[in-house]
């Protein structure tokens, strides 16, 4: 473990710092709202000569991802950041980035989608992109956002993977709050991420190749997609290996999911992002009161840790799944659906209740989390599970 500098900084600041330390060759970004100050602070690093990056400001988020795709195909290490409507506008390009197997790393400040207009935190933007073929990491804190950004570069560029990675942090709650964060030194990060070694770079004129060609009827489209699935399946081992190596370097353990109190828990909450802290805080108080409660925080949403989640939940009677996004017309939010799926083959299936909470930044008060555990303890005691999804705190 290396010595680290402890700072008081926002999530945006430390993600920009992580990007600088990863030395991207190209950053292309749309610098106007709903963008965050991540790219603004990164632009300042470029202007001051603290990082030698080709910084391309473009006219839309769609163009930002297009420029990232071109640069990544050319063989560059490419990073960017986006949020909310910006990610939505990138949508078709997201599929091109993953389909062309380009290891682009993008920070996403999780924020709501219109309408009605709202600028605050929820996971609708990222969950809208969950099938785009990107590896998706989520952070609870600014510290995790910093750590995930650095790990993302290694995961994306691993030759067993070659997929883009979206590193998500909660809008405003994590992006704009000052938190205590430990930063690695530049050399340690440079040593950890290394240089990108692109094997079939577009600008390798000695070995000309075609990227993103037509693969229509009779072409290998189906096979390309199968290869993409195989790549994201292989990424499971890579994510764990990179997480272990990063833990050795930083002293901060990484798990695709992280548990609290699950050894003997009778009820559990499954959650993503900053709310995991609120849930753990309430769980601690309930534990002190003798209640057997636990928490499961998902840190890697794609690929989803089905086996790990089923294992973590194997001993519980009732599970609450807290979704900060909707999937209208489905039985619950995206995390609810994945959790139910993870439990289908379990020999001892617990009751599972879906909660939709915190949309558009609605405050996740501790009383709301207490009410979720209250429901779970009632169910474990024999009460019927409420029909979900329960809209937590809705007037």
């Amino acid at each position: 473990m290396v010595e680290q500098k402890v700072v008081a900084a926002t999530g945006n600041t430390v993600v920009a710092e992580a990007m600088r330390q990863c030395k991207p060759d190209v950053v292309a970004a749309y610098p106007i709202t709903p963008q965050t100050t991540i790219v603004e602070e990164f632009a300042a690093f470029v202007a001051k000569g603290r990082v030698h990056t080709e910084y391309v400001t473009v006219e839309s988020e769609h163009s930002a991802m297009s420029a990232c795709i071109g640069a990544s195909a050319a063989g560059a290490r490419v990073m960017t950041a986006t949020s909310s409507q910006g990610l939505a506008l990138m949508w078709e390009e997201l599929y091109i980035a993953s389909g062309m197997r380009l290891p682009i790393v993008m920070a996403n400040a999780n924020r709501a989608l219109s309408a009605p207009i709202n600028i605050h935190c929820d996971h609708s933007d990222a969950m809208g992109a969950r099938d785009a073929g990107w590896i998706m990491l989520f952070a609870e804190t600014a510290q995790e956002a910093y750590d995930n950004t650095i790990m993302a570069v290694r995961i994306a560029e691993d030759y067993e993977v070659l997929l883009p990675v979206m590193s998500c942090l909660d809008g405003f709650i994590t992006t704009h709050s000052i938190d205590r964060v430990s930063l690695l030194d530049d050399e340690s990060v440079a040593g950890f991420v290394g240089e990108r070694e692109a094997e079939r770079a577009l600008l390798d004129l000695e070995h000309p190749v075609t990227h993103g060609a037509f693969a229509g009827l009779g072409g290998p489209y189906l096979e390309f997609k199968k290869a993409q699935r195989q790549a994201i399946e292989r990424s499971r081992a890579v994510v764990k290996r990179v997480g272990d190596e990063y833990a050795a370097l930083s002293g901060r353990p990484f798990g695709v999911l992280e548990t609290w109190g699950m050894d003997d828990a009778e009820v559990a909450v499954v959650v993503i992002g900053s709310t995991a802290g609120n849930v753990r805080h309430v769980a601690r108080a309930l534990r002190a009161d003798g209640k057997k409660v636990g928490v499961v925080k998902i840190r890697c949403f794609r690929p989803f840790p089905y086996a790990e989640l089923a294992e973590a939940l194997s001993g519980v009677k009732a599970v609450a799944v807290m979704d900060r996004a909707e999937s209208f017309g489905a039985e619950g939010g995206p995390l609810y659906l994945e959790t139910r799926s993870a439990l289908y083959d379990a020999s001892n299936r617990p009751a599972v209740v879906g909660y939709v909470y915190g949309l558009g930044g609605s405050d996740v008060k501790l009383e709301l989390v207490e009410s979720v555990y209250g429901d779970l303890l009632d169910i474990a005691g024999g009460a019927a599970a409420p029909a979900g999804p329960v809209y937590l705190g809705a007037r």
Binding site: V6, V7, A8, I119, H120, D170, F172, I173, T174, H176, S177, I178, D179, R180, S274, T275, G277, N278, R280, H281, D363, V364, K365, L366
Partner: protein
Amino acid sequence: MQQLTEIRWHARAGQGAVTAAKLVAETALELDQFMQAMPEYGPERMGAPIKAFTRISPEPIEIHCNIDHPNVVVVLDETLLSIVDVTEGLQDGGVIIVNTCKTPDALRKELGLEGRDVRVASVDASGISLETLKRDIPNTPMVGALAKVTGLFTLDEILSHLTKTFGKKFSQDVIDANIASVKRAYEEVSVG
């Protein structure tokens, strides 16, 4: 230091509440505390009422929600007293500090805090700011008053951090004026 201190700031956009919340958080870090500082973002314009929050604790802070039950309330603009319920959720044993020329007794009456187990503090931070900084930027003097009233930091701890961070951005004149304003507010704040 007590387990967890929760501070809620009330101000108008442009008065420097976010800078003040940041200054307090960074000073806490230098004392090896854990902290959070977050503004409540909205479609804000200069002069619009805003809130900001600071948490300080010797233990890691896990919660990420607004502060509904503060130990400390800091009001940077007294015209907010009639339009925002600044004492909402203020805990027993807590304190409210207001930038005003009024006495703590008059303030206690105006805020309807008679009989409540809370302390009321007043300081003319705008007056101090006009004299030292030649502008009405009450944020740094309010941090001085906060240090005195809560005992979270000593005067030296605040001044040493202020010198360090402002030193990167401002001229010596501006730093000196800020130091003078923090010192004066530290000395002049009255508690009732």
